[in-house]
Symmetry: C2
């Protein structure tokens, strides 16, 4: 059906629905096609038959189905160029050298969230790609110490804790040295295990209060597993969309955000821009997620935009493409 009028009708309906969020009637389309509403109705009926459109009730206008959006995204949509003003805003961020790259991505997504009224998510590199670079123990006031864990990708976690006063600084230092000697280079999600079976038996012999020190590092390492390194921008933006007009829907989506369910929804995939419409994503059947991976030197992660299924696909894809090109430029 490439190039057919049917396709035209689908495109017009989807774009109209994206604008208005209201079911689209035939009369609304016929002007753009120079034909009568009856003709459009025939095309609509055909499109509905094939599953690209749906009706909210028997005599309503048409609403795109997931299949319809999918066809639109795959075949009809062209990424929209940004306005000069928008480009300028993003460019200045990346040309500002005082910003490190991850800050620049952050700031960009702030702007994108503002421009689109959707919610952005930044998902940093997952812990299993990180390897232990260094651990450090620093005595603070009184009987307090801070344990610091640093990975080769620049992740840092820390854990404060009280130690018994009769624990010696030397003992602490010995343990630290041991970990640094034996575990540096280990993938961070294997460290806990190695800590227990390789380090603990050794320090147990000659460090009296080894439990405390062991626990300190153990919990610092576990922090990596727990922290998903995820960051939302404009979390409430999606609530501005008219599809979230009921208390239940809002509660639902907000608690899914809180529970970090989105991590699972953003699976690994190719390095392009991926679109997950409605039930294609794991998060919520009412939303679309558009995501892409970024990779700068050895820092990598995923950026995602979450909006209603009725999302401005062309605009968001255009924005992400532009953002991606900026990130790549940085990456010489």
């Amino acid at each position: 059906m490439i190039g057919s009028r049917e396709e035209q009708v689908l495109k017009l309906i989807i774009e109209e629905y994206i604008k208005t969020a209201k079911p689209v009637g035939s009369s609304c389309i016929c002007e753009a096609l120079n034909c009568s509403s009856a003709t459009v109705r025939n095309e609509m009926a055909s499109l509905e038959q094939k599953g690209y459109l749906e009706k909210t009730h028997i005599s309503s206008g048409r609403v795109p189905s997931e299949k319809g959006y999918r066809y639109y995204v795959d075949n009809l949509m062209k990424p929209k160029d940004m306005t000069g003003e928008e480009m300028l805003k993003l460019q200045t961020i990346f040309h500002n050298n005082s910003l490190q790259i991850s800050d620049a991505i952050n700031k960009s997504l702030q702007i994108i969230s503002d421009m689109t009224n959707y919610t952005s998510v930044i998902l940093g590199s997952t812990s299993n790609e990180n390897r232990l670079k260094k651990v450090e123990i620093l005595p603070l006031e009184e009987n307090k110490i801070v344990a610091i864990v640093i990975t080769d990708k620049g992740h840092v976690e820390h854990k404060n804790l009280m130690i018994n006063k009769n624990i010696s600084v030397d003992e602490v230092r010995q343990t630290t040295d041991l970990i640094n000697k034996l575990l540096v280079g280990t993938p961070i999600d294997e460290v806990s295990e190695k800590l227990e079976f390789e380090i603990k038996p050794i320090i147990a012999k000659y460090v009296k209060q080894h439990e405390v020190i062991y626990n300190a590092f153990y919990s610092a390492f576990n922090e990596f597993a727990e922290k998903s390194n995820m960051h939302f921008v404009g979390k409430t933006n999606i609530l501005k969309q008219p599809e979230f007009n009921s208390v239940d829907k809002i509660k639902n989506i907000i608690s899914k955000f809180e529970d970090n369910d989105i991590v699972d929804s953003i699976k690994e995939e190719d390095s392009g821009i991926n679109i997950y419409i409605g039930s294609e994503n794991e998060l919520d059947e009412d939303v679309t997620i558009i995501k892409t991976k970024y990779d700068i030197g050895n820092e990598n992660g995923t950026i995602a935009i979450v909006g209603p299924k009725r999302m401005e696909y062309d605009k968001v894809v255009g924005l992400l493409e532009y953002l991606k090109s900026n990130i790549d430029n940085e990456n010489l």
Copy 2:
């Protein structure tokens, strides 16, 4: 009016309203007082006159006013003892030695949020009480470094950044040493200023790429100012309360949470348990905030519970008192 029947009526109405969230009628109260509804109506009229009760419309039941809640909290309410089961849950957390104290507080508030269906907030010590303990620069792969800033209270911030390849490790180390020599002990919110006026002029002389290093530390220090060190537990719990039954109210309270407006609402005050009812707090006139400070050795902060004005004051105060006593016990 101490001990009067009027007081009884107020207490019963408030407690009934807390339970049901519906305006309380006279007939509902008269059984408990062994008198007729007409008598209760007279008392109610008097209480309304004095401003302790309100009506939603001319012929509705009564609803407590803020003044009513305030009187209840100040004069009528007794902190409620927890059930044995509840006590047990919290106690085991504090008797679990492998948890550091701040984790224990975290876990406790998780439980309290679950038990009450309110939202908890943990606000750590503010940055101006922290003094610089140590800065550190660590070279990572390729041309990437991580700058780490540690304070005497055990706060740690870090900043990853790329440096030009022709910058030498020595230059980086010189700068680090200089900062450690000159700025250790400085309150963290004065560090940025000192960095600019005391350190920058010196390194500018002999470090070629001083801008990059300077910026790294500058932004790491600024992180302290930006991060409010605040942590929500059960952010969506408050949405379960029937007063948040409209889309607008939910959007309103959620975006106030997101904007961290609550920091301003939790002002410094005495070390007891403070209650801010409705317009008494800055956050939102529909909520009550109950807060208390904690202080363990040199780690201190604030715990707050946010719920509807129709909050179970006795239960929450009881819980917080118990939690506080547990924290204090830890603090020998």
